[in-house]
């Protein structure tokens, strides 16, 4: 559940949700890209007080390497491979800069095309 880091004073644990929040912040700020809408289960979790990020999945493997699966919407008219590549790079930079974890890969899943040209 948590990414562990051992320092002299003790453990530092970073929750997956922290990484998910960073990923979502990047997507929110990134031009031409948007997050996917919350579904029924996401809305239910929200009401029950569980903050959730739809479409963002953080996977930590046995070697403490982190993989990020993220679902996005791309603005109509943009080149998807280019947008996806720059999104992957922005996410990688933001996560490495903020939490300094060993990122394995950032998988982007384009779920929809947004209107608003």
């Amino acid at each position: 559940m948590r990414e562990k880091d051992n320092v002299d004073l003790g453990f530092i644990k970073i929750h997956k949700k922290v990484i998910a929040e960073i990923v979502n912040a990047v997507i929110d700020e990134f031009e031409g890209v948007g997050p996917v809408e919350k579904d029924f289960a996401g809305n239910l979790k929200d009401i029950l007080g569980d903050k959730n990020f739809p479409g963002t999945r953080i996977i930590v493997d046995r070697n403490n390497k982190v993989a990020i699966d993220v679902k996005i919407k791309v603005q109509y008219g943009l080149n998807i491979p280019e947008v996806a590549r720059s999104t992957q790079e922005a996410i990688r930079k933001a996560v490495e800069k903020t939490v300094d974890v060993d990122l394995k890969n950032v998988n982007v899943n384009v779920q929809g095309i947004e209107r608003g040209e």
Partner: protein
């Protein structure tokens, strides 16, 4: 759908809270539910028309909400309909539903197209197969128009996802609305107009 989903969640939560509270209160003996009351309630459900309709509607709403809940948890069968390519940073997969949506929007920009439906599937040898069903308006040269439509869709998909192999675009014209129907209707209404006006008894009356 988003509003409906939110509303459904609220109804679902309220329903569960209500039933739970009722059961807790009943088991703690804080509310008095006698056998006769339960029997009376069941009797009403069976024999009173209005109660029957109310209970049946509640049950149907609960069923729909539960179905939505189950679909959203299990993913609604849309998983797997993607095409993917690898970047140095990781894999990028594009939902075919997103491409279908984009195709629809591109085709609808053509003025001669009235309605459109599109279906995309990844065929053999990694070639995308795009089926576009359209309803046309007006008398037009169909071979010319469909050919330009095929080019338009093909180039748009190629530009958007940057695939190596060109997609196959199949266009199916399912209906043609003749252009002059509207003009005919307008003429008819113009002809009918003065007669109808003549039948209005107090036309131009001022108080």
């Amino acid at each position: 759908m988003k509003i409906f989903s939110r509303l459904a969640v609220r109804v679902y939560v309220l329903l569960v809270i209500g039933i739970s509270c009722l059961l807790i209160l009943a088991t703690l003996d804080l509310i008095d539910i006698s056998y006769e009351q339960v029997k009376g309630l069941l009797y009403n459900i069976f024999y009173d028309g209005q109660t029957r309709i109310a209970v049946a509607s509640t049950a149907v709403i609960a069923l729909v909400i539960n179905y939505l809940f189950m679909r959203s948890i299990l993913g609604g069968g849309e998983r797997g309909r993607t095409i993917a390519f690898d970047n140095p940073a990781g894999r990028v997969s594009v939902s075919l539903t997103a491409l279908e949506d984009m195709t629809r929007r591109v085709v609808l920009r053509v003025p001669e197209v009235k309605e459109v439906r599109s279906a995309i599937k990844a065929g053999k040898n990694k070639v995308l197969e795009i089926d576009v069903r359209i309803v046309l308006k007006g008398d037009i040269n169909i071979p010319e128009m469909t050919s330009s439509l095929q080019d338009l869709v093909k180039h748009k998909v190629e530009d958007t996802i940057g695939i190596e192999k060109s997609p196959v675009v199949r266009v199916h014209v399912s209906k043609i609305f003749p252009k002059d129907t509207k003009i005919k209707k307008q003429k008819e209404s113009e002809e009918l107009g003065p007669e109808e006006e003549a039948n209005i008894p107090f036309q131009g009356y001022r108080a």
